[in-house]
């Protein structure tokens, strides 16, 4: 099976061939590196930009104005904070120009912790991004979704922020991409650039097929009626692990919702699940003041208060200036499996 990052790369290739992608660019995105996480190796429209995040986002906007289809990369979302007002402008062009200026562009960026990235390679960005009206924000948690959401991000005529949980980029999916060769080594030989001299290397792309995952459509990773867990990105597989453990321990199964889209989010699925279980835990790795899930919690209170049998929960990262390098910092700042298990057990066990 393809890894998450191979899936992104193949989606971009599909986008170049079938969806009109004209430019894939950013710092170290073009040859020889093809992205610090290899997401853009071998792509025919990939090129290297100056080390200038505002220039990257601005140029993508300009390309979109002129009818191109750009996918730009901010190397780590931590470097994207100085682009906030340009992101705001990109999100309001269609609105402020009374519908005359759609802004069809994708900004992709690795987000979150899990690679011992210290202060500036561990930030989460989704809570900041969720305030950018006019944007759509997606964050897949597995290779197949990474492929399908990238195709939709490219096809959507609005600006889409594509957040990649960097700790999952090397993780293999458990479902094949349509058109992906069955043999992992064969795929690697076809599309991974060799170590060393790459000047004469060219990828051999598989015959990929379309697979669009609609923006705003969550998926149910586990089904049950004991409680609802809502997560996405890096912590989604950890939530699945926790739900599986509790089912093994107690026989009680939980709904685990992979939100996949931060905005617009799948309120229909969240609502239906909470109405069924009466118990909900939101989990993500962003920090805890004005965390995006606080909005979901507020909607839960407003819309579903009388469906709740116990208080709703939110597990999130601590409100500290950064994630320290030593593992003691990271493991005690961002929720880990242990914390998810504790929170989920408490949620399931609390008397109604």
């Amino acid at each position: 099976m393809a890894t998450f990052v191979q899936a992104v790369r193949m989606a971009l290739h599909y986008g170049e061939e079938h969806l009109g992608v004209t430019d894939v660019f950013g710092e170290d995105v073009g040859p020889p590196l093809g992205g610090v996480f290899t997401a853009t190796q071998g792509l025919k429209t990939a090129w290297n930009s100056p080390l200038d995040e505002r220039g990257i986002v601005g140029t993508a906007m300009g390309i979109a104005y002129a009818g191109g289809k750009p996918v730009c990369e901010i190397q780590f979302c931590d470097y994207g904070f100085n682009t906030i007002d340009l992101l705001k402008v990109a999100g309001n062009q269609y609105w402020s120009g009374r519908g005359a200026f759609p802004m069809s562009m994708v900004v992709m960026t690795p987000s979150g912790s899990g690679i011992r990235g210290s202060l500036y390679h561990s930030h989460s960005f989704e809570s900041w991004a969720s305030r950018l009206a006019g944007w759509k924000i997606v964050m897949p948690s597995n290779a197949l979704d990474a492929y399908g959401l990238m195709l939709s991000a490219i096809k959507d005529p609005n600006p889409v922020l594509y957040l990649m949980p960097k700790a999952l980029l090397r993780v293999r999916g458990d479902q094949p991409l349509p058109g992906e060769p069955a043999d992992e080594q064969q795929l690697k030989d076809m599309i991974d650039a060799p170590v060393g001299d790459r000047s004469r290397w060219k990828p051999r792309w598989p015959e990929l097929q379309p697979h669009f995952i609609k923006i705003g459509e969550a998926s149910l990773a586990r089904a049950g009626d004991a409680a609802t867990v809502v997560s996405y990105g890096r912590l989604l597989p950890i939530c699945v692990q926790a739900a599986d453990a509790i089912r093994e321990e107690t026989g009680r199964a939980c709904d685990v919702i992979d939100l996949r889209s931060i905005f617009p989010y799948d309120w229909k699925m969240i609502r239906a699940s909470i109405e069924k279980t009466g118990r909900v835990l939101f989990v993500n790795e962003d920090t805890e003041v004005t965390n995006f899930a606080e909005h979901l919690l507020r909607r839960t209170i407003d819309d579903l208060f009388y469906d709740l049998t116990v208080r709703p929960r939110l597990l999130q990262a601590k409100h500290v200036p950064g994630i320290g390098l030593n593992h003691v910092y990271e493991q005690n700042t961002v929720p880990q499996l242990r914390e998810v298990l504790i929170a989920l057990r408490e949620l399931v066990d609390e008397p109604a």
């Binding site: 220039g55 906007m61 390309i63 104005y65 120009g97 005359a100 759509k136 609609k214 923006i215 889209s261």
Partner: protein, 354 residues
């Protein structure tokens, strides 16, 4: 009209040094400048009378901005010029053919405002059919965006260029440096005409205390971008500086830099009172003196232009006040373009997901 700069005319020409403009073109430039000025004076009155809220604009920049507007290759898409303007480019729009009524509609915040449906400040134009992308109040971010349109233009077989305009104060922003870097990358230099309108002010702060460089355009040199400084109050000099810049970008497909010294005749905006200053030269008065002296227009003809422009602005106000205001249902309109791959908003935004 731009082609007429080289035509033989019955009227005498205006000359600056060894450069000249035909008399007919000067008459046309004058008329555009006056129409733009009268439109803005009407806007300032609207800000004071409550018929509008906030005014910001370009009295003092009309000479240069008119010459810019008249030389644009106007149209939609990468085969035509793209404009990334600042909020003092009214005369450019009037020169390109924007009805004064449309400027007033934006000031009056009407639903009929073609630029923003009553959403944005005056002077924050957007015209898709002319590649004028929405003007932002955040100074200088247009400089980070401009290389993108130029990049696409360079790929099509056309002489279309990207024009980006900002002020001297805004050149302190990093986006200005971004534009210099991205426009002149050896890997892909771009046809960007970079224009800085130097009025010597950033709101209330004099540039002399903030900028050590002799000219803003001196910053183009290290990037290999040809640059010139021009008297932006002089339409003859401005016309030819713009022409040179455009010709360079259209033919060499690389960037060019023009810094225009201009006046700021009504302060920064209505927030500083928009009162007329008297210690800076007025490009319209300067031009009229030259037109009279050259025998291109007499005082009566000039006054007639002013009268017509005043009447046009007054009529535009009357008309705009009869037109509808935005309604509550408009608030969410145009948040999202319809999308076939969005499960929640296949059409426009409809409030929070339900």
């Amino acid at each position: 009209m731009p082609e007429s700069s080289t035509e033989t005319t019955l009227l005498p020409s205006l000359e600056t040094g060894d450069e000249s403009l035909p008399g007919e073109l000067c008459q046309h430039i004058h008329r555009v400048m006056v129409r733009s000025r009268r439109m803005e004076e009407r806007m300032i009155k609207m800000a004071k009378s409550g018929e509008g809220y906030f005014w910001i604009g370009g009295p003092g920049e009309e000479a240069f901005n008119t010459c810019l507007g008249l030389q644009i290759k106007k149209g939609r898409g990468p085969n035509f010029d793209f404009l990334h303007l600042h909020y003092r480019n009214e005369a450019t729009l009037v020169a390109m053919g924007m009805p004064v009524l449309d400027g007033i509609r934006q000031m009056a915040m009407r639903a009929t405002d073609p630029h923003s449906m009553g959403r944005n400040f005056p002077g924050h134009f957007s015209v898709a059919d002319w590649n004028i992308v929405p003007v932002s109040s955040v100074i200088e971010n247009q400089f980070a965006i401009a290389p993108g349109t130029a990049m696409v233009q360079k790929r099509v077989s056309s002489d279309a260029i990207t024009i980006v305009v900002g002020g001297d104060a805004g050149s302190a922003e990093g986006d200005f440096a971004s534009c210099l870097v991205w426009s002149s990358r050896p890997a892909n230099p771009l046809p960007v005409l970079i224009i800085v309108m130097n009025n010597g002010w950033g709101i209330s702060t004099c540039s002399a205390g903030q900028h050590g460089e002799r000219h803003v355009s001196d910053r183009a040199g290290p990037f290999g971008i040809p640059a010139e400084v021009v008297d932006g109050n002089d339409p003859v000099a401005s016309w030819h500086a713009i022409r040179r810049g455009m010709h360079h970008c259209r033919t060499k497909r690389t960037p060019y830099f023009v810094e225009a010294g201009v006046s700021r005749l009504n302060g920064h905006s209505s927030s500083s009172g928009a009162a007329r200053v008297t210690n800076e030269p007025d490009c319209i008065e300067l031009l009229e003196r030259r037109l009279r002296r050259a025998g291109i227009m007499d005082a009566e003809e000039i006054e007639r232009v002013h009268e017509e422009a005043r009447a046009e602005a007054d009529a535009a106000l009357e008309q705009s006040l009869l037109e509808p205001l935005p309604v509550v249902a408009d608030i969410e309109r145009y948040t999202y373009h319809p999308s076939p791959v969005d499960a929640v908003y296949p059409g426009d935004y409809t409030g929070l997901p339900r």
